[in-house]
Amino acid sequence: MASVPRSFLLLSIIPTILILCADFACCNTGRKTGDGLDTDFSGFSVPLEHSFEVDDVSRFRMRGALQLRGGRETSVSLSQSQLSEEDRKTLKEVAAVDGLYKIRVPRVSLTDRQTERQMDGYLTAFVRACSLVESHLSDVITLHTDVSGYLIGVSIVTIPGACRGTEVEDEVDLEAFNTTLTIIAPTNAPQPETALFIERMDIEHEKRGKPQEQKSFFAKYWMYIVPLVLFLMMSGAQDQSGGGAANGGGR
């Protein structure tokens, strides 16, 4: 173990930091752990792109910019522009042919700042264009990260999510997105609850055990035992003295 090369040690430290960061990132309970990790992570932005085409061939265009802020408390905000006239028309056309509305974000890491933050590739998700139209562009976008703060997935749903075929007449309803944006980190799965169980068992034991412990065998039956012992002692003493007398007599 002593011959572990130094580079390995270094390597093994980095993920620990990452994990710690992720830990802090995911907790929304406001846990305070003030040690050296207070470095200010100024936010950075990544593009959020969308694509909706009648022929279902993806052509991604800019929809807005995601402001990501890593660090202790991961936060995310979205600034997006309104849909243009042309876009609105296309979207309605796509909805009419039951096409898809796709979004994508580049793969990034929220914590790892120095090394390549942006990896190749995108994370893609989709929703039926008709449901987006019928919900008047109210969508919920969720970003998922893994333990070390990499974005691993994105999802989009609309509320309501159904396509009922209701016509959206008012063009104004399709101008601006009403987006709810959340970022979700993995939850920690529970460990077996041994401590609580033992505590409970102890309480149970105490409750059941106390009266029995108090009343031991002697405590319960002292009224019988004491007279018996007394009686035996008395009779034994008599016997001894009697025996002694007899012995004495024999000499």
Partner: protein, 972 residues
């Protein structure tokens, strides 16, 4: 005071609950073997020996590639005893030598030397050998008795006493870096010879003194043509090394024991009038009947795939005389009994059989009346190895039995004059995947079904049809009665109840099914689930050893008159190229259906619920260019696919890139990528992905809680459970990730991380729950965790589930428990309608199969018992999961090395059929909620019917009495 009463109440409830579970499982003594069976296997034979050379001996010994040393009863083929060693190279058997009562075995590439008592299979002794890879071993005799065994390793040779395994001496081999020592030879002299080679340079011969391991002589012989002793040389006659050189087509001889530096003498094969099959590497086969004597001077030379010659080395030591030419001859083998040695030769006879004959070794003459026929199965493998057990008969002639191993790992034991005594299908020791298929209906049932299936064509023909089918039914019934009557007269022992492929038919409750098993060797089996007898087998040749299999039931038995149809997708793991084998699962026959051409590697296969006009489900195969091939691809299917294309989604997983992506089918059968989730491989790697079983039914949509409200389950049929393991394996930082991903939208439904955990992860995904098991690196124990998903107290859309329209994430509940044993595999029970409560079937390394009620794995188990939880029958939380021996469904029938458990519903809701496979195969039934829909075996029919009759008569009599009384009163 009040609380203590409550607590007492609680504990008593707990006890009652527990006792309730206790009685639920376990079999009664008289039920043993009634509904279950077990078959034990050993694997592909590497070494086989027969006990002794007498006619009455019954034992034979095999060592296999599954690291098993076993003994068979050669009369029945049953296992006498079996030793299952560790899997992998640690337990691999390098060599098996047999001498008298002792079986010597080198295990684990020269790690251990073991001696077994062959009578009872007990271990005599075990010696740990020095490090170094194993090369060869042989018995060494001192003054005509075999007392020692020599083990040659890469850099050392050691001698051990046979009696106790103690080492007599060990010597390092000189110059072992340059010289590859490959053979050790002892011919009963005072020396033991070690042969080594420097490839294409020279041969080294070292003679060690038996007494103290001193090097007596060391010779180096020029041999620029020689590259390996193992593959091209044998020792024949009085210590003459015989080598064959495929380049110059010549035999070389060299006296090992010569005093002066010897030289190879060359004999061209041409001079013996022998010709080598082009491109074939000639092989020499010799025999040393007794380790205390030198080998025979006769030997076989194989010149082609089916050409052998028996040759004899003359006494001068460098001339050779051909004795007999065998062409065609597949296999040859020597066998010795007493002083006589014979050669057995297998020659092809006709399409369906091979003939085996004995030949005298000295003269090459054929021995009379020694022909044995070996039947070649039409769908079996070719003969691979011949093991001959020769013995002297009473009239001093040689008799023999023969064990033939075929390429499909089957062992067939044949006795003169050609009777197959037994066959063992050792391919079943490595089952890869299996399915259970319903048996077909009987003819009459099928007739009725057919009637309903046909289109109505008028009233009169319908009536006629009905009448005719009823006549046939009557006929069948009468025939059945007659058979019953006929059989009742015969003594019971003669009534055969054998299952054959002709008599197969579905029983009343569909408890008997056809098990279709696919083995790693490429042999398919059809096994009757009731008796375990093999009804058909089919060997697929040209299956690569590393192939992956996927078995798909395309058409079940329900579509009479169309036969059921299974498709086996065989994929070469290296190239990714796939082939299809379509067959009828009841008879094993290959279907003559036009198969699609699959020129590109296949990434994914998916079975659609779409059926073609012949009721076969459509199989889609996605190749590496994301193009889709449909099978069957009739016009009807293509049309349906076009119509449905926009609602056909599928996913692909590339675990090497951590990439999960979803696709949607386009009308022209191309695909478009619609979602992508990437798990960085630097952090974690995907180890397994499981969806739900398509034939699973969930009866209740929710759970009724204590306050009478309903908690609805999140039943997403498209949900995938993705399990990952961290790349960092440090115990403090290792973790296991569990992702629940919707397979249609790619939405991550839930993402959880089990810290300080490591695989191997076993998990089951069913209904609305996922149960997984992992190793806790901190506490060093196995733990079970259960995840359950609920929609909440209200359903979003109660009529239909659509992944595209479920905006709200489900509530996820999770609980973790300690499990006191490691596990090897896990599966959940499955029943027809999903009413019966579920159990988890857990295969333990001990060979037991544990039926664990799902009730114990319920994240709603309360820490503190309340009125509501008691109402719901929730068991209070306890961190440790119990293992009760009554829960072992296979009582003492341990299943060695359980690899998989397959569950199938039966026609009875209470009953689930279970097959556990690994080295052994075990089939049984389980009743997770007991047999609520079956009358017990000991149900008292007599009592209930007599009570009924008594009541009936009592009412009749009392009625009559009442009438009389009324009449009398009226008269009064």
């Amino acid at each position: 005071m009040k609380s203590s009463v409550k607590m007492a109440k609680l504990t008593s409830l707990f006890v009652i609950l527990l006792s309730f579970f206790c009685i639920s499982e376990a079999v009664f003594e008289d039920q043993v073997g009634k509904f279950d069976w077990r078959q034990q296997y050993v694997g592909k034979t590497l070494f086989a020996h027969f006990e002794s050379n007498t006619q009455s001996s019954k034992k034979m010994f095999v060592a296999t590639d599954k690291n098993i040393f076993a003994s068979f009863n050669s009369r029945t083929g049953d296992l006498l005893w079996r030793h299952v060693d560790k899997t992998g190279p640690e337990g691999s058997i390098d060599i098996l030598l047999l001498h008298g009562q002792d079986a010597l075995m080198v295990v684990g590439d020269g790690r251990l030397l073991r001696s077994w008592d062959t009578n009872i299979g007990g271990l005599n002794w075990e010696a740990v050998l020095d490090t170094g890879s194993f090369q060869a071993a042989c018995f060494v005799a001192i003054q005509d008795t075999v007392k020692l065994v020599a083990v040659l390793k890469k850099a050392a040779i050691s001698l051990h006493y046979l009696s106790n395994g103690h080492q007599k001496w060990v010597e390092n081999l000189p110059d072992s870096d340059a010289v590859q020592y490959q053979a050790v030879y002892s011919g009963g002299e005072e020396e033991v010879y070690v042969l080594g080679v420097v490839p294409n340079s020279h041969l080294t011969i070292i003679a060690y003194s038996l007494e103290d391991g001193e090097i007596i002589k060391q010779r180096s012989v020029e041999a620029s043509w020689l590259s390996s002793i193992e593959s091209s040389c044998v020792v024949v006659g009085q210590g003459v090394l015989m080598c064959v050189d495929p380049a110059t087509l010549a035999l070389y001889t060299l006296p090992i024991q010569a005093e002066e530096t010897p030289e190879f003498s060359q004999i061209l094969l041409q001079s013996l009038d022998l010709e080598v099959f082009p491109g074939f590497q000639p092989v020499l086969v010799s025999s040393q009947p007794h380790p205390a004597r030198s080998p025979l001077s006769e030997f076989f030379l194989q010149l082609g795939p089916d050409h052998h010659v028996l040759l004899q080395l003359n006494a001068d030591g460098y001339t050779i005389a051909p004795l007999r030419d065998f062409q065609p001859a597949f296999l040859v083998s020597f066998a010795t009994t007493g002083k006589k040695t014979v050669a057995a030769v297998m020659t092809p006879k006709n399409e369906t059989a091979c003939a085996i004959n004995l030949f005298s070794v000295d003269s090459g003459r054929r021995l009379l009346d020694t022909t044995v026929l070996f039947p070649l199965e039409p769908n079996g493998g070719k003969p691979h190895t011949l093991y001959v057990h020769a013995f002297l008969k009473k009239d001093d002639s040689v008799g023999y039995r023969v064990l033939v191993q075929t390429q499909d790992h089957a062992l067939t034991f044949i006795q003169q004059p050609g009777r197959v005594v037994w066959t063992r299908e050792e391919a079943l020791a490595d089952v890869v995947t299996m399915e259970m298929v319903d048996l077909p209906l009987t003819g009459t049932q099928a007739e009725l079904e057919g009637e309903f299936g046909k289109k109505a064509d008028g009233l009169f023909p319908m009536v006629l049809k009905r009448l005719s089918s009823q006549v046939t039914l009557l006929q069948a019934w009468l025939a059945h009665l007659w058979k019953l009557f006929y059989e009742a007269r015969k003594p019971r022992s003669q009534v055969k109840n054998e299952v054959t492929i002709e008599t197969l038919s579905r029983d009343e409750f569909n408890l008997q099914k056809m098990m279709v098993m696919v083995t790693a060797s490429g042999k398919l089996f059809g096994i009757d689930s009731k008796s375990g007898s093999i009804l058909w087998k089919h060997y697929l040749e040209n299956v690569q050893p590393n192939a992956a299999f996927k078995l798909i039931v395309q058409r079940t038995t329900a579509h009479f008159p169309h036969p059921p149809q299974c498709t086996l997708l065989i994929k070469d793991k290296d190239t990714g190229l796939a082939t299809l084998h379509v067959f009828n699962p009841i008879f094993g026959r290959k279907s003559h259906i036009a198969l699609p051409a699959l020129p590109r590697p296949i990434l994914q296969s998916l079975l659609l619920p779409v059926i073609d006009q012949d009721y076969a489900k459509v199989l889609l195969l996605v190749d590496d260019q994301y193009k889709v091939t449909a099978f069957p691809s009739t016009k009807n299917v293509l049309q349906q696919l076009q119509e449905m294309a926009s609602s056909i989604f599928f996913y692909l997983i590339r675990s090497d890139q951590g990439n999960l992506s979803g696709f949607r089918l386009r009308k022209d059968l191309s695909t478009e990528r619609i979602w992508e989730v990437v798990l960085p491989t630097e952090v974690q790697k995907i180890v397994a992905v499981k969806g739900k079983r398509p034939n699973e039914h969930v009866h209740s949509q929710g759970r009724v809680m204590g306050d009478r409200s309903v908690l609805y389950k999140y039943l997403n049929p498209n949900l995938l459970a993705v399990v990952t393991e961290s790349t960092d394996t440090h115990p403090e930082r290792a973790f296991v990730g569990v992702f629940l991903v919707d397979g249609v939208t790619g939405r991550i439904i839930h993402e959880a991380v089990q810290r300080k955990a490591r695989g191997p992860v076993h998990f089951v995904h069913s209904e609305n729950w996922v149960v997984y098991e992992y190793w806790n690196t901190k506490s060093r124990r196995n733990e079970f965790s259960v995840l359950e998903l609920f929609e909440g107290t209200e359903l979003y859309n109660s009529t239909v589930f659509s992944s595209l329209d479920r905006p709200h994430l489900p509530q996820v509940l999770q609980q973790t428990y300690i499990f006191p044993s490691p596990i090897t595999t896990m599966e959940a029970t499955l029943t027809e309608k999903g009413i019966t409560s579920r159990h988890l079937l857990v295969g333990l390394p001990s060979g037991a199969i544990l039926s664990l009620p799902k009730m114990f794995l319920d994240p709603r188990r309360p820490e503190v018992v309340t009125e509501h939880s008691r109402e719901e029958n929730l068991i209070p939380y306890a961190p440790e999961m119990p293992i009760r021996t009554e829960w072992f469904i296979n009582y003492n029938q341990t299943v060695a090395r359980v690899k998989g458990i397959y569950t199938a519903p039966s026609g009875l809701e209470s009953t689930c059929l279970v097959v556990a496979y690994g080295l052994d195969i075990y089939q049984t039934r389980v009743y997770p909620s007991k047999q609520f829909d079956v009358l017990k075996d000991d149900y008292d029919y007599v009592l209930i019917s007599s009570v009924l009759f008594a009541l009936f008569f009592a009412t009749m009599i009392s009625k009559r009495l009442a009438q009389v009384k009324l009449l009398n009163r009226a008269w009064r």
